[in-house]
């Protein structure tokens, strides 16, 4: 009886072992180019400051607190603690001569957000904020 079930037991131990010993996720997962595409949107403006203003307004609308912001480097890091902990970093950079690229990273707890739809949701809100700031509405 004991011998009969030992393969099952060892399988279970193996499964448990595989679950516990997770390799350190230092460099992340997924392909670099694909991730960039999902996380980036470009806008037809050259005004970095107004773009960052829109990003901050968007983050505040979505319930985030700003941890850190830097106009020169175009980075904003924000955290939302409601229910679960979500952390985002947004970068705003000039792209070529006429456009600005906004890139967004998000993590919830220990998990990276990889769903393109979640990033799309963010850009829907940002699109509206961009429209309002570029038309000088507070």
């Amino acid at each position: 009886m004991t011998i009969k079930f030992s393969p099952l037991v060892s399988m279970l131990v193996l499964l448990l072992g595989g679950c516990a010993a997770v390799a350190p996720d230092v460099v992340g997962s997924g392909t670099q180019l694909e991730i960039r595409q999902i996380q980036t949107r470009e806008y037809d403006t050259l005004d970095k400051k107004l773009t960052m203003r829109s990003v901050i307004a968007t983050l505040q609308d979505l319930g985030f607190l700003i941890d850190n912001a830097d106009l020169d480097l175009g980075t904003i890091t924000a955290t939302r603690l409601h229910q679960y902990k979500m952390r985002m970093t947004v970068t705003v950079r000039k792209k070529g001569q006429t456009r600005i690229a906004v890139r967004v990273n998000a993590r919830i707890g220990e998990t990276s957000v990889t769903n393109p739809l979640t990033y799309q949701d963010f850009f829907v809100v940002l699109d509206k904020a961009m429209f309002l700031t570029l038309h000088k509405v507070d």
Binding site: K4, Q60, F64, I66, L71
Partner: protein, 190 residues
Amino acid sequence: MFFANSRVLLLAWLALAALILAGCAAKGIPADALRLQESSLELRSIQTRKFTAASEMEILSASIAVLQDMEYGIDEIEKPLGVLTASKLTDADSSKQKTGLFFLDILCAIGGGDDCDSMTRADDSQKIMLTMVVMPSLANENEFVTRVTLQRVVFDKESRINLREKIVDPEIYQQIFDNLSKSIFLEANQ
């Protein structure tokens, strides 16, 4: 008979393995994580006020002063973007909650439990975090749009997190803006 029995056992093992595996699978990302909530427009108006000030420096100085008045420590400032981030650790002890947990412990002890430590679960301290964004109005000169957002994390006696939430009480925001209004007046008349 033995065969049937081992089949049942095998199924039980598999069910257990599936349960364990499900437990360690990555938790899903909520689908509405970055979707705008319906209440966000109302919350924005609660969190936003317009003020008149002579210059960006004047209103930023008044904003920093009001954060100091309210006993916050400044964590981060980015002047060109008008972003101020501040926080403070305060008491979250509630005698009402502690009384409830005390009786829960007594009931637990009477019931013969040997792990009656609900009291350590009582709220002990809370970290209040605040972001204030002060931007010149795009529509009117000398006007500034200020938006404040607040969150808090409540810890129990053993520094475990009991609660994390955004603060939505309009009265709290009103009080902050009243204080800011006074601070701007003092800044202009010092």
